[in-house]
């Protein structure tokens, strides 16, 4: 019965998340489940999770992208160069234009990867390993390794810093709108399911909606409980979380309801079959990489705005967290299986582990060991699960 509201995989991921939270809360002497830590966790997670939604599609087609961390670094430097060095510091059009240039740069990076993989027939592992080096090198060359700072104040909002949240009142209003849309969606699906004659029982649907609502209300409540320094004014939902929400909705929509997403799954399931039935396999893979590049650029905006500086090393090793997030979230490296929301939960798990270990004072070497072990275990468990399925 419970399976119809929540898949077994999703349930185990969520249980793991709760376990991590409780264990680290206790170990850190009550530091983990605090508004301050959770707020920062949300902001940190957004960077990885935004990219993990794209990595999901990449891995579903049985490809990989090792260059997303470097792509983030390069895009960040390009934005910094334009916003801080080339464009007038006070111009109102500065940050939107420099951010737009950054997004376009991300699309170009994706097109570079995608063209070699889809049309050049080179394995994605090789192309994006090359990309990892190329884009990191270019990030250094962009400003000869200098650190560029500061960004415009409006731009810094995207990083979720001091002014980077919605405030208490707006957060509640956004919540109301989101929940209303969600309820309308559930209602629409319910009516359609009744028409075909196998609807989820109303009680289960209500239960699911209540669960989502409680989680969402709890989320806003916690975010509002984190006060601005030396005041009792709550910050509210951070802007990066809003960016992540929109990204997840768009990417879930693409993956589940469009032919583009369907073709990604088909290519990962059986590329020969996909070709025989006339799916434009190369074009699909190419555009998936372009999309991945754009998402890396969005993540670059969040990361640089948060840091309030462009450095050529931003995003180093991030590709590993992104891939790990997708894999832990149930995206199969064998292709053809996985969901966007699973990958996002994978990102939350990875970042929670990392942040929890920081709180208990683990060194960076210990954190690396732990994340590595978790990744290996996740793939092993995934393999077992898919064999049984």
């Amino acid at each position: 019965m419970f399976k119809s509201i929540l898949s077994a995989r999703m349930l185990s991921l969520l249980s793991l998340l709760v376990l991590i939270a409780v264990v680290f809360h206790v170990l850190s002497g009550g530091l983990f489940l605090t508004p301050r830590n959770l707020y920062n966790l949300v902001v940190q997670t957004s960077v990885v999770a935004v990219m993990a939604t794209g990595m999901t599609l990449v891995i579903i087609t049985r490809n990989i992208d090792l260059s997303v961390g470097s792509a983030l670094g390069l895009v960040g430097m390009v934005i910094a160069l334009f916003q801080i060095e080339l464009f007038p510091a006070e111009a109102a059009w500065n940050w939107p234009l420099s951010a737009a240039i950054g997004i376009a740069c991300g699309a170009l990076i994706g097109a570079w990867n995608g063209a070699w993989i889809a049309f050049g027939g080179i394995p994605s592992f090789v192309v994006t390993l090359g990309g990892l080096l190329i884009f990191r090198g270019l990030a250094f060359e962009t400003a000869q390794g200098r650190t560029l700072a500061p960004f415009q104040e409006t731009y810094q909002v995207f990083g979720g810093g001091l002014n980077g949240a919605l405030g208490e009142a707006v957060s509640w209003w956004v919540l109301v709108v989101v929940l209303a849309l969600y309820a309308a969606g559930e209602f629409f699906i319910h009516r359609r399911q009744i028409r075909i004659g196998h609807a989820l029982p109303l009680i289960l649907r209500a239960l699911r909606m209540a669960m989502v609502a409680i989680l969402a209300i709890g989320f806003v409540f916690v975010m509002n409980a984190y006060d601005r320094p030396r005041t009792d004014i709550g910050r509210g939902v951070p802007i990066p979380a809003l960016i992540l929400l929109v990204t997840v909705l768009v990417m879930e929509f693409i993956a589940r309801f469009t032919t583009f997403g369907r073709y990604a799954y088909a290519i990962g399931g059986d590329v020969d079959a996909a070709r025989l039935v006339g799916i434009p396999t190369r074009k699909t893979v190419f555009w998936i990489y372009v999309l991945m590049g754009v998402l890396a650029a969005v993540a670059a905006v969040i990361a640089t705005a948060r840091l309030n500086a462009g450095t050529s090393s931003t995003g180093e090793l991030l590709e590993l967290s992104v891939i790990a997030a997708a894999v832990i979230g149930g995206v199969s490296l064998l292709g053809g299986r996985g969901t966007v929301s699973g990958a996002v939960i994978g990102a939350v798990i990875i970042q929670s582990l990392d942040s929890g270990m920081v709180l208990v004072g683990a060194s960076s070497s210990v954190r690396m060991i732990a994340i590595g072990v978790i990744l290996t275990l996740a793939v092993y468990i995934d393999k077992r699960l898919s064999k049984e399925a």
Binding site: T258, T259, Y265, A266, A273, L276, V277, R337
Partner: protein
């Protein structure tokens, strides 16, 4: 081709079709024709070039040389979509099913009904599910696993999905590559009945098979390939089973059939 009903326009006319993979001549200057309402069996060993020839007609392989006329019109047939548009449907030997997707998704794969939303195409999954159920249940009334991934279906069920897909889009030319390979006796008979019904609807069928019994029972004409070349072709009554076997194994043509470039008389 004196024995053919030449007063009618052929559905398919392939002339000196050629395809090489690297240095291997997979199909060497092969001619073939198909008329409405007839079944032409394409025979030969593994690697004789049957599947390659048919894949060129299906638009899955592009040919290196030669002409293909469909409904009297010359056509490049360089993509499966082009073949679909001409009413050419194929049941591939591998079935061409994405095993991670369900039957409804596979039936419409590459041709999903829906609406354009910006650069994307939104799928009408309701229509897909309804029509897939109808199409598959026409072949097998007991089939109800519309939303189960194809990897969890039996060999016969998978074959049914592949056949339903070819029929759903109203094929006028049907290529069946070993359609009974994965089937038990009962399902094999179902396919035989189906072929008879399709013939009555004036659909032309290329039937690739290595089972001579099958062929003799179902086909009107046959063509034999060996080493990428056409050994010969004729009407089913023109040669007995042993003679056809001789053509397949040794490339030896009896005088009663029309010899091709690859046949010895």
């Amino acid at each position: 081709m004196s024995a053919s009903p030449s007063h009618r326009q052929p559905l398919v006319e392939m002339k000196r079709v050629y395809k090489a993979f690297g240095g291997v001549h997979a199909v060497e200057n092969v001619d073939a024709t198909l008329y409405p309402g007839e079944v032409v069996a394409v025979l030969g060993h593994n690697g004789a070039g049957k599947s390659t020839l048919m894949k060129m007609l299906a638009g899955a392989y592009s040919r290196d040389a030669g002409d293909i006329h469909v409904h009297g019109q010359a056509t490049p047939l360089s993509t499966p979509a082009e073949a679909h548009a001409l009413g050419i449907e194929t049941i591939h030997q591998t079935l061409a099913l994405a095993d991670n997707l369900d039957a409804a998704a596979n039936l419409f794969l590459g041709r999903e009904p829906g609406w354009s939303v910006g650069p994307f195409r939104l799928m009408d999954s309701q229509t897909m599910k309804d029509q897939a159920r109808k199409a598959i249940q026409q072949l097998n009334p007991n089939f109800d696993k519309i939303d189960v991934p194809c990897r969890d279906l039996s060999g016969g069920q998978r074959q049914t999905v592949a056949i339903a897909r070819a029929l759903h889009f109203e094929a006028r030319i049907l290529i069946m590559d070993e359609p009974t390979a994965a089937l038990g006796p009962e399902e094999t008979k179902m396919v035989a009945d189906l072929i008879t019904r399709l013939k009555a609807k004036n659909i032309g069928i290329f039937l690739i098979s290595h089972d001579i019994e099958d062929v003799v029972e179902l086909a009107d004409r046959f063509m034999v390939m060996k080493g990428g070349q056409l050994v010969g072709h004729g009407r089913i009554g023109d040669a007995d089973k042993d003679e056809i076997l001789g053509m397949i194994i040794m490339g030896k043509c009896p005088p009663s059939v029309t010899a091709g470039p690859g046949g010895q008389t």
